[in-house]
Symmetry: C2
Subunit: 187 residues, 2 copies
């Protein structure tokens, strides 16, 4: 049973966040849950921030729009600044190490991790930051199972990049085991 979870993935265009959202949604289906995956484009889509959203629930999803996210991923400062106020007060914030976080904000749980650097330098391709990020999200939230996520990644990434993306996923899992946590206190 997964009660409704709303996940917002944000960053810049080209970081593969839509694909990340599609993969999370497909993993949820493989787990036997329901999912809605969407991107809204508007005037803000021309301003440098990109976002994709996923809602997962074991029940039918009547209202498909993310209002207050339970999980907010921000890979760029622009995305952080734009979406930080859309995180639920009990939500989890996951941000790249390159982002300056405002510690005065009263956020339930903040995880800051070198997602972009791990993708570029350890896995070797900046384009897999999305997969590193969803691996980290899986470990922190259990919104999807590892088995389903791995299957969904291999189903959806371009042919020939399966091994690269599997490595990226494992690096995302690994990140969750390190102590990149800025804060872990409940409010």
């Amino acid at each position: 049973m997964v009660s409704r979870k709303e996940i917002r993935l944000s960053g810049s265009g080209g970081q593969g966040l839509i694909l990340g959202g599609i993969i999370l949604a497909e993993a949820a289906i493989l787990d036997g849950n329901n999912a809605v995956q969407s991107q809204s484009y508007g005037p803000e889509a021309r301003g440098g921030a990109s976002k994709a959203e996923v809602i997962v629930s074991s029940k039918a999803i009547d209202y498909p729009k993310v209002e207050k996210a339970d999980v907010l991923l921000a890979l760029t400062q622009i995305a952080y600044n734009k979406y930080i106020n859309t995180l639920d007060s009990n939500g989890i914030l996951i941000i790249d190490s390159t982002i300056e976080h405002d510690h005065n904000r009263n956020i339930h749980k903040v995880i800051q991790a070198p997602i972009l650097s791990i993708a570029s330098n350890k896995v070797g391709r900046a384009m897999v930051a999305n997969i590193v990020a969803i691996g980290l999200i899986q470990q922190l939230t259990n919104v999807v199972t590892k088995n389903s996520l791995e299957t969904a990644v291999l189903n959806r990434v371009p042919k020939g990049t399966e091994k690269l993306n599997k490595s990226a996923l494992l690096e995302g899992y690994q990140l969750a085991k390190n102590k990149y946590y800025l804060e872990a206190a409940s409010v």
Copy 2:
């Protein structure tokens, strides 16, 4: 000015309908409109039919769910059977030539065209059926401009497949000029 248009793309998994939806949404943004692109997955996602949805409007899109589609694309019989009742009474139905259409239905406009066959046999790759289909949709609806659609296709398709997909788009445009119309009568 584009008043709100709701487009549902349906078929089977692997036909690239999500990518088709993303491309239509991005073309709408390039035109200066707003768009929401989504896929809902549920128990039905395990049953062989896949769908992706796009809403385009020159105004803000408050309610992001497609209720009655203005345009329904169906590439398989299973998708046709499942979604035919979700087409608005003033909507346009676009179906592949392999689908058996129920002529007793009172549908405003029906276009039946060999989308899958053109992709496989004329362009040479079944996987570009999605691009043939969105080219046809562009010509039939003008929901996005040709210029923006071409830019969005080239932005979004896998590197190395640009020429193939451009050909597919042109074939989609061409289909609209032929008389594949089953019915064109207003109700």
